[in-house]
Subunit: 177 residues, 2 copies
């Protein structure tokens, strides 16, 4: 149905799950046609991803993703801590996961899947990398892999990565590295 | 910590939320270092998105996304119904949301945000579009907008879309439309 007014108006709501990272809310909303419906929203603290380039190679991390029961090769990434800015988070995650710090430039900000969650992803480009490791999270397991930038672009185009932010970030910077 | 073995092994788990669309599970897992940790996973039925091109214009839908409390301009998309294939879903969603049907070609499959959900997104390219509307969902409100393909590519590159699948899909097909 096409309408001028698309707004769904909050009527009342409750928290139906308080998780360790996510919180799920169930709200009653007033639709543009006057109907009342229900919206379940997964609240998320937000996250960053870092396209880190060293000597024309991208630094990727191989890790086991429990949610999808398989290993992935992704750009370094992580969730925002409380009161942490996206830039601070990007610097911390890059050092924790790869051992490098560098110059950071904002590349893109987007919603990962706005149909059911407010998770926002901030992508950064890191260059001028210097080895300066931070103590990694002792319960996080990953392997750093370096791939020539042009090969990574081809892998993104051929759907050889499984992770949206990794594909999106590499495609966005194609021709600029 | 770098390890050869990255696997996180399921020990036991429970469903902690049975939502209308999502289900949240909380599992105990055995980490590679022998520690036991907790993983919360949002189970999702999976979804499709369709890059639909007519006369060198892309068909986009403007809609209110309650989870992020704002309007977005996105490619037509939707969740898989029970026992529905991604291709069937793509055909249905395109007709429901834009009124068109066309040839469908698989473009990419990826996980939207594998840190906390198993949601998988199947992207299709629809061409040879014919007007053949399906009755839309009466509680779904959207406006179809047509944008020249080259302009959509520029908008994706300039971060003017907010939705990951829309940016990714357009960038992936840059130069092929």
């Amino acid at each position: 149905m096409e309408k001028d007014n698309l707004l769904e108006e909050y009527l009342e709501g409750e928290v139906i799950l308080e998780g360790r990272i996510i919180r799920v809310e169930r709200d009653s909303v007033l639709l543009p046609n006057g109907h009342v419906s229900t919206r379940e929203v997964v609240r998320h603290p937000g996250a960053v991803g870092v396209i880190a380039v060293l000597d024309q190679e991208i630094l990727l991390v191989r890790q086991y993703r429990y949610a999808i029961a398989q290993e992935t090769l992704e750009i370094p990434a992580g969730k925002l801590d409380a009161n942490e800015s996206p830039l601070e988070c990007a610097k911390r995650e890059l050092r924790e996961e790869t051992g490098y710090r560098g110059s950071m430039e904002g590349v893109s900000t987007f919603y990962t899947t706005p149909g059911f969650t407010d998770e926002v992803m901030h992508l950064f480009l890191a260059r001028d990398l210097i080895w300066d490791p931070l103590k990694p999270d002792e319960d996080e397991f990953l392997r750093v892999e370096r791939i020539p930038w042009d090969k990574a672009v081809q892998m993104a185009r051929k759907n050889l990565f499984k992770d949206a932010k990794t594909i999106l970030g590499i495609l966005l910077l194609q021709g600029q590295i």
